[in-house]
Symmetry: C2
Subunit: 353 residues, 2 copies
């Protein structure tokens, strides 16, 4: 009974109504009598109808607009990569009349988020991709669109209670554990391991605390009682605390939770001349890559911002066009970059995204 190629015309015939009526119930456009509705629904249950998307989008003049809210990409390598992922997805959906509007806000200024939010209200997009860095200001923003039943997907940072159609990111806690694992590779004995939060605004702290918890959990689970974990939270200007830390003769490894922070530590470590301290950081930023290749940084954990954003647009487009519901949460693998495999990542990214 569930044949593959059923057209709208077929179900109309089966139901004994016209295609117009079928189309109306399919799209819940109203203006259908109870009895007609029933007939169509019965027919729909008998045969398995899958709309032909080609015909659908060809026959409709609707243009979809997706609003993308991310931190200013100009000044920031990480967010630039997100933007590239969006662009890639956008180009693939362009033929279906999807259009992307970017709204950049300033990472260091909550009010800038409210400003772009205002612009998004005006634009009345059909879907939204947002990285909700600012918790408090994101809440009313998304509530507004939830109310208008405009779908939105979150990426990078999650706010579960806004009930997005999907969240795309990483498990930060697990990420911290991998950080611990990498920082301690080859160290079986006692020692000191540090987790540093650098350069980051206060708003982001939940993000970083999660990683720190994972980092600590790793040592508790795998080297209980044998290892001291230190935590330092610094802005880039306070190099003193770090210099002091690097002087600790027991220090064996460091995880820096912010993608931009690790290269600063790498520089200080090189200056100090110390060897044997494992440095673990995040993401394929230019500086990070350079220090990884020289061996000062030992490992980078890749958050894959490109693919996160790419997937976000895909989910939105599929939802809008096909009413496909995406997974409510997809957590990316915790990819480990080393001096030996970094080139394989860089080459791949160039070709694929």
């Amino acid at each position: 009974m569930s044949n593959s190629k059923n057209r709208i015309k077929d179900i109309a015939k089966l139901a004994g109504v016209s295609v117009g009526t079928v189309d109306r119930v399919l799209h819940e456009r109203g203006k259908v009598s109870e009895v007609a509705m029933k007939k169509v629904q019965d027919a729909l249950e008998k045969i398995n109808y899958e709309p032909n998307l080609l015909a659908r989008t060809l026959g409709t003049k609707k243009k979809h607009q997706i609003a993308v809210l991310i931190p200013n990409a100009e000044s920031d390598e990480y967010w630039l990569q997100s933007k590239e992922g969006v662009e890639q997805a956008a180009s693939e959906w362009a033929q279906y009349d999807f259009q992307i509007a970017y709204y950049f806000f300033d990472l260091s200024d909550k009010r800038s988020f409210n400003q772009v939010a205002e612009a998004v209200y005006q634009a009345q997009p059909d879907g939204i991709l947002v990285s909700p860095i600012f918790y408090q200001e994101t809440l009313p923003f998304l509530a507004f669109f939830k109310n208008k039943s405009v779908p939105y997907v979150l990426f990078n940072t999650n706010i579960p209670e806004v009930r997005a159609i999907s969240f795309i990111g990483q498990n930060l806690y697990e990420s911290g554990k991998v950080g611990g694992e990498l920082a301690s590779l080859g160290h079986q004995g006692y020692g000191t391991f540090a987790v540093l939060h650098i350069h980051e605004e206060i708003q982001n702290s939940v993000h970083l605390i999660e990683k720190e918890k994972g980092f600590r959990a790793y040592f508790e689970e795998n080297h209980p009682g044998r290892i001291l974990v230190k935590s330092l939270s610094l802005s880039s200007s306070q190099e003193d605390g770090i210099t002091e830390l690097l002087a600790d003769p027991d220090l064996n490894g460091i995880l820096v939770t912010t993608s931009k922070g690790i290269s600063m530590i790498a520089a200080l470590l090189e200056k100090s001349g110390r060897k044997g301290i494992k440095l673990v950081g995040y993401d394929l930023l230019e500086n990070n890559i350079a220090y990884l290749k020289t061996g000062t940084i030992d490992f980078l954990i890749h958050q894959n911002p490109r693919r996160q954003a790419y997937l976000g647009i895909n989910y939105l487009a599929n939802h809008l066009l096909l009413k496909k519901v995406p997974p409510s949460e997809v957590l990316f693998p915790l990819e480990i970059i080393t001096p030996q495999n970094v080139n394989s990542y860089l080459n791949y990214i160039l070709k694929i995204y």
Copy 2:
């Protein structure tokens, strides 16, 4: 003058001919006078025409068939994963009338390849995805289709001289280097490192030799003269040589180049009771994952067969439908799996592919 939305009708009007004629020159169907041809070409140069794919595929009744030639997936976890990638891609392209026909051959029997090849000749597919395990028998097979200008993409193993529209795989040499890096993590001093080829048919040896070269190169570049690299090539029945190897007190790390081989070594290592030997293998097979989680295996390098196959089908479909030419070679990143990040991979794969 290259406006975006130019229909075939527009260029017809501009050229002063009918849409039928334009369509004929667009598809080189012949039956067009020199003068008409000229007019259309002139028009085509004036305005930038991009065909509407939706309309194109809707208006044509052509069904595309893609032949997939891979080793029998029933008995083999690795190839099963490839097959799953094909299925995923197939489901995404189904609406465009793409159909997949599988042709499984026996990894241990060259003649079985010739048999399925025969079947493929009969089927006259429009595109081919093949993993060319058997060099000699693949050559004439692909020559046949090159001659018929049926596009084919290779994955997993490359044969550059057949000039596929694309090859998807990994850089085996670099992969071996990463294997060396991982096997030697935490070992600064002298020592023995082994690279083992297990379970594999002779036909595959090029594959494995490449990895071994990379493995050796890693040590030469990073620990010159200080480390002894041993190489052993074994079928699964010859456990003696391995037991002997494991008894070597200088042994620090092992890379097993075949995805199925590593779990056998892991079992023997556990039995021997020795500690501190780094074990590095390939791929997320069930047994491998189990040994990784218990810590007997330290690292796995992920070849991502799912995504390789998935991408292969995508390239073929895009080529057939859109005449898009894929990158002639895409080398996948050398993904490193550890006890701490393995779950993040397993969860991700479940959701995405």
